[in-house]
């Protein structure tokens, strides 16, 4: 009886699941696939750690530092916008706030450059979270499209404040950090590892959110907020917490960035292109996945840095950015990773289907498993209850 009800509900499921990425668990693929995945990530982590040792050219490592910074920012942005469906174009506020926190404290208190300044990086993150609270409280009460506009508005307020609160931020003349005593590749390497730490935090947060019940609630909000609320998800609180969580790594990334550059100015710390870049990176890689923003950011940021170094044609790259984004939206609306995953999965399904009816039935049964787990939020769901 439960089987019949289960199958009925499965076929009656009205909405196609907008798969947000590789499933966290899958009965079909089993532990072999899972340990392959773990091994894969370990290899990637190893490569990332060994990178500066392998590539010692300072140009390459400079590009790498920026790439890691943006990978952190994109992952953190995705932890909120990708999972909740609320596209934020205001995360530059956190980036700039983190940068200014670090630079202002170090500069005003005349710290000597060196490792000690890195201690301010987490502080940049904390300040960002502090900002995220009122920001989120106002912005998250509105629906999605109004939310986007509110984030734009708050961003412009902060940019204006950065320009005009001269006693605090020195306005457009900018602030400089104390210079660390390292040079060349020693300089780059230390910042690379600092950025890598921030990336680790960002990925940890992203994974923790994704695999938790909290993450499921976020995804539920993304799919149908009213239904989620009806099921008992405390939408405002969930969104706010996710917003705060995503602001933390972005603030830290901004702090590392500010220290790396050596001096910051309002129009670069609060750069409207930042949010579009981060959004494209996440979209390109795959919104709502974990590896997506990493891939997208690595690709795009290194490309952008390369162009900036080679050509430094500011307006051309505006056009290129816009054009690239349009291409991504039109051709790969779900991003590289989900498209690749789906293609692989459909090959695999085709292969299995050829192996006989029993496999088909087995496939159908286990298809209910993941679908049931992912269908609207939480714990005991609606499936088969009526």
């Amino acid at each position: 009886m439960s089987g019949a009800a289960g199958e009925e509900t499965a076929t009656a499921a009205p909405r196609p699941m907008p798969s947000p990425g590789p499933l966290p668990t899958s009965n079909r693929r089993g532990t072999a696939a899972r340990s392959a995945k773990v091994a894969f990530w370990l290899v990637i982590a190893g490569l990332l750690v060994a990178f500066p040792a392998i590539f010692t050219n300072t140009t390459v490592t400079t590009i790498a530092v920026f790439s890691i910074i943006f990978m952190s920012a994109a992952t953190a942005w995705n932890s909120f916008s990708g999972y909740s469906g609320y596209v934020s174009i205001g995360h530059a506020v956190f980036f700039g706030a983190g940068a200014y926190t670090l630079v202002l404290i170090a500069a005003d208190n005349h710290w000597t450059g060196g490792y000690s300044v890195f201690a301010l990086v987490p502080l940049g993150g904390v300040v960002s979270v502090a900002i995220a609270v009122p920001f989120g409280l106002v912005a998250l009460r509105t629906r999605r499209h109004t939310f986007v506009v509110v984030t734009i508005a708050v961003f412009f307020i902060f940019q204006l404040l950065a320009f005009n609160l001269k006693f605090l931020t020195r306005g457009s003349q900018g602030v400089s950090t104390p210079t660390p005593p390292w040079f060349g590749s020693a300089y780059n390497d230390r910042f690379y590892y600092a950025a890598l730490c921030v990336l680790a935090v960002a990925v940890l947060i992203s994974v923790a959110v994704r695999r938790s019940r909290f993450g499921l609630q976020l995804l539920a909000i993304r799919d149908d907020e009213d239904r989620a609320a009806g099921l008992g998800v405390r939408t405002t609180r969930v969104k706010l917490v996710a917003f705060m969580l995503s602001s933390f790594p972005v603030g830290m990334a901004g702090a590392v960035w500010g220290y790396f550059l050596g001096s910051i100015h309002p129009q670069f710390a609060f750069n409207p292109l930042f949010d579009l870049s981060v959004a494209i990176m996440a979209f390109l890689g795959g919104l709502g996945t974990i590896s997506g923003p990493l891939l997208g950011a690595a690709l795009l940021e290194s490309l952008q840095q390369y162009f900036a170094i080679q050509y430094s044609q500011d307006n051309l790259y505006l056009i290129a950015y816009g054009a690239l984004f349009l291409v991504v939206i039109v051709l790969l609306p779900r991003g590289v990773i989900p498209t690749v995953v789906d293609t692989v999965r459909s090959w695999r399904d085709r292969g299995e289907g050829l192996r006989g009816r029993s496999a088909l039935v087995g496939g159908a049964r286990s298809a209910q498993g993941p679908a049931g787990g992912l269908t609207v939020a939480a714990p005991n769901g609606v499936r088969g209850e009526d």
Partner: protein, 293 residues
């Protein structure tokens, strides 16, 4: 201080008229197509550049030039709608439209930046700095002309919307796209033309903007953030709301500039927006019934 305040209010109302026109275009686009056109700001700048080229290279008076720039921007709008907006599906439509039109605005900005460089331009027709002296207040001629222009165009849009068959189709699509399709409205065509109208008004706004401000390719960002604030404040989809909000915001901005400082006056937009949204999340005249996202 009293006269200064009244002057500020008067200036605000006059400039508010032009912003009302542009905001009305933006909110109309949202109402009919369910998208937010971030490129509206850069279209205004494009209109300004077009008016400038016509005026400085061909000696055509900016107001006369509108006869050329308005249709031009109409077709630019239609082109953008056909190329990009049409491909947006129903899912996450509004969010995607924001990102897509943002990308389009970047491309346009890059093109304009390339074509005209980073110098600032301003149209300076003969009447640019003269004023009428009425009841003890100075009314800058260009503001008055701009206001009259805005009123005329808004009246034309009103006539189109409420006195023509096409307008009835537009209003039907505004209320409910699916229902409109069911009764035989060609929503697709209506959408395209509406988008064109929404951008055509930026030609007028751009011309006035170009006379009253020194502009360059990156003036668009400031413009669109104001227009968005106005439109959200008035309530997305409400033309009357957009108009009222435009005048209100411009008046407020001028008052703040007079009483406090011009540097801080842009904050007025965002502060007002945030305050209103905290109290009434759908804006002053927005519909409380949530549109399907």
């Amino acid at each position: 201080m009293g006269t200064q305040l009244v002057q500020a209010v008067v200036d605000g109302v006059l400039t508010g008229g032009v912003y009302a026109l542009m905001a009305a275009g933006l909110t109309l686009i949202f109402g009919v197509l369910d998208i937010i056109n971030i490129a509206q700001g850069i279209f205004v700048v494009l209109g300004a550049y077009l008016s400038y080229v016509l005026w400085s290279d061909l000696g055509i008076d900016p107001f006369l030039g509108l006869l050329i720039t308005i249709p031009t921007l109409f077709f630019v709008g239609v082109g953008v709608e056909w190329a990009f907006i049409r491909r947006l599906g129903e899912r996450d439509r509004v969010t995607m439209s924001i990102l897509v039109t943002y990308a389009v605005s970047l491309i346009l900005e890059g093109i304009l930046d390339n074509a005209f460089g980073t110098n600032v331009f301003q149209l300076r027709p003969s009447y640019e700095s003269s004023s009428f002296f009425v009841f003890g207040f100075y009314l800058q001629q260009i503001y008055v002309y701009g206001f009259v222009l805005a009123v005329v165009l808004l009246a034309a849009i009103y006539a189109l919307l409420y006195r023509s068959r096409f307008g009835a189709s537009v209003r039907a699509s505004l209320q409910d796209r699916t229902a409109a399709q069911l009764i035989g409205v060609n929503v697709r065509r209506v959408s395209t033309i509406t988008f064109g109208i929404g951008t055509a008004v930026t030609a007028a706004g751009g011309m006035v903007f170009g006379v009253t401000n020194a502009f360059s390719a990156n003036s668009g960002a400031d413009l669109i953030s104001r227009l968005l604030s106005i439109v959200i404040l008035g309530g997305l989809g409400s033309i009357g709301g957009a108009m009222g909000a435009a005048v209100l915001m411009l008046v407020l901005e001028d008052i703040v500039a007079t009483v406090w400082s011009p540097v801080w006056s842009p904050v007025v937009y965002f502060a007002a927006l945030l305050i209103v949204l905290s109290i009434r999340p759908v804006g002053l005249f927005g519909r409380t019934a949530a549109r399907a996202q």
